[in-house]
């Protein structure tokens, strides 16, 4: 479909940074040594001909929109793509794009029921919020009141155009461009941008890792008939909230598969080692509903305090770093809990062991079939033993 975009508002909404990011990613090269408010970008065609694309740099100047229209025309002719497709891609250039694609089993007219559309949107929203929460801190389950930063981020995410073929919900998470891209557009400005990872990008990375881990945990739990894999996946950002986000599709009788794909903003390349496509079937929706319940049950073990004698303390190297094994009461049973220590916390554990006092600390207790481990340990202190029972674990058999 050949369409010429003439709407001033739409054209004016394209920013120079987005356009430059798109041109860079599409193989255009900036012509250097030229002055003025128009920047020239070049591209060599297969025929050997060199084409120029001119980018206006001042969005608030009166002729910005018509010049953007001219630019779209050049790009459309050069790349043999519709202006609409290019317009969309430019708009996405400074955003990470997350696509939730629902396969409705053979129906390819691009429509789904209103109820399934609502479910898919709900799935997208919950997944984003869960990933944002896990980016703030890792937890098995988040309370109803999510971290403020996660809510703020989720509110900033935009829904893009739906796409034909299957039903697709497209989310756009704006990411500040890499310094090199921004400085190409604003060379004389002391960039307020930091080389540190923007929170929005950190969320996309967490989401990618969590979804890949969730997909693997789902397969593992089916074959092993155990929820341990989900427990281990909490470290990658999996949570009951994320499981619930996918499981919301359980109610659909038509959706036969959910694919979630992530694309990095072309203005800020992402890490190449991150898996960016995860898929879930209706069988997985059911398993994830169960996983959410189990993780919520165990969420009570987040931020728990343990106390007990130190039965073993390691220090592999010269630095004050090692691991303590604490014989603590967990869920009514005395268990050996591994706690990683650094610096002052190692000293406290060493003193506890020497004095035969109890080591007290707080953290997130994780259990699998092999061991218990306290993650994110903090608030270390010593406590005198209340009775001889406190040291009975040193002599008896423990799990």
């Amino acid at each position: 479909m050949k369409v010429t975009i003439v709407d001033r508002q739409a054209l004016g909404a394209l920013s120079p940074i987005e356009v430059v990011a798109y041109l860079r990613a599409s193989g255009w090269i900036e012509a250097h040594g030229l002055e003025g408010p128009l920047r020239t970008w070049e591209r060599r065609l297969d025929s050997g001909e060199v084409v120029d694309a001119r980018v206006p740099m001042h969005p608030n100047w009166r002729d910005y929109a018509p010049l953007m229209s001219q630019l779209l025309e050049v790009l459309s002719e050069t790349e043999a793509r519709s202006q609409l497709a290019i317009f969309r891609d430019i708009g996405e250039a400074t955003s990470d794009v997350i696509r939730f694609r629902a396969d409705s089993g053979g129906r390819s007219d691009g429509t789904i029921s209103l109820e399934d559309s609502r479910r898919l949107s709900e799935c997208a929203y919950r997944t984003v919020l869960a990933a944002a929460s896990a980016t703030v801190e890792r937890k098995r389950a988040f309370p109803a009141r999510k971290p403020a930063k996660a809510i703020e981020f989720t509110d900033s995410v935009r829904t893009g155009q739906t796409e034909r073929g299957s039903y697709v919900v497209t989310l756009l998470s704006r990411v500040s461009p890499a310094l090199s891209t921004a400085q190409a557009v604003l060379p004389h400005i002391e960039s307020p941008l930091s080389p540190e990872l923007p929170f929005s990008r950190a969320v996309t990375i967490t989401m990618a890792r969590a979804l890949a881990s969730l997909e693997a945990a789902t397969l593992a739990s089916v074959s092993a008939s155990s929820m341990d894999a989900f427990e281990a996946a909490v470290a990658d950002g999996v949570s009951a909230d994320l499981c619930d986000g996918i499981a919301v599709l359980q109610g659909s009788k038509v959706i036969s598969r959910l694919d979630i794909t992530l694309s990095w903003s072309s203005a800020r390349p992402g890490p190449p080692d991150v898996v960016r496509c995860s898929s879930f079937t209706p069988e997985a929706f059911e398993v994830l509903g169960e996983a959410a319940t189990r993780l919520r049950e165990r969420a009570a073990l987040d931020g728990v305090e343990i106390s007990g004698p130190v039965v073993e303390l390691t220090r592999p190297g010269e630095k004050l770093h090692g691991e303590a094994t604490v014989a603590a009461i967990v869920e009514g049973e005395r268990r050996k809990v591994a706690v990683e220590l650094w610096g002052d916390s190692w000293k406290v554990a060493d003193e506890a062991m020497a004095k035969r006092w109890l080591l007290v600390c707080r953290g997130d207790l994780h259990r699998d079939s092999r061991q218990s481990r306290l993650k994110n340990p903090r608030d270390f202190r010593l406590m005198p033993p209340k009775s001889d029972d406190d040291h009975s674990a040193e002599d008896g058999e423990l799990e």
Partner: protein, 166 residues
């Protein structure tokens, strides 16, 4: 066709002919409401300068009221057109080109030997001109020496390539 529409189309044709003979690209503007009718652009490598390949935006007008006397031509512009042309913050410089046609209808004479478009066109840059407040129109004065010719257009484009503005 109404006379107004004929004048508009004739002025575009006149300017298009000059631009074409001067060797530049002539494009009709798509985006409405911007007071630019024609974009004139040099091809890649055609004109070199520190501002890259030059472009000029032209607003075309036509009048039959100029009798050829005096050293200036008066023309009344609508307030919107005037403001669009006097704007200082533009990526591409703009000019007004006024095509003056005879008061009778002998605008075009053609024979086997020649094609004559009557009568002449004149140009002016209003960049940075004073604002007009609440008025609905503004009379502008175009120097008669500013004839819009092939050579004049080529000279303007060279200036834009080297100076960035007219």
């Amino acid at each position: 066709m109404f006379v107004t529409a004929k004048k508009e189309q004739f002025s575009l044709a006149f300017i298009h002919a000059v631009v074409t003979v001067a060797g530049f690209k002539c494009k009709y503007a798509f985006v409405d409401d911007d007071s630019v009718d024609i974009d004139v652009a040099a091809s890649r490598g055609q004109l070199s300068g520190r501002f890259g390949a030059p472009q000029i935006g032209i607003q075309a007008k036509c009048t039959e009221k100029d009798d050829g006397s005096g050293d200036r031509i008066r023309y009344k512009l609508k307030a919107k057109n005037y403001d669009d042309l006097r704007e200082a913050h533009l990526h591409i410089p703009r000019i007004l080109v006024l095509v003056c046609v005879p008061s009778d209808t002998t605008w075009l004479l053609e024979s086997e030997e020649s094609l004559v478009l009557k009568r002449a066109a004149y140009w002016v840059s209003l960049r940075g001109a004073e604002p007009i407040g609440e008025q609905e129109s503004k009379t502008v004065y175009i120097p008669r020496v500013n004839r819009f010719t092939v050579d004049a257009l080529a000279s303007m484009m060279k200036t834009v390539a080297s100076e960035g503005q007219l």
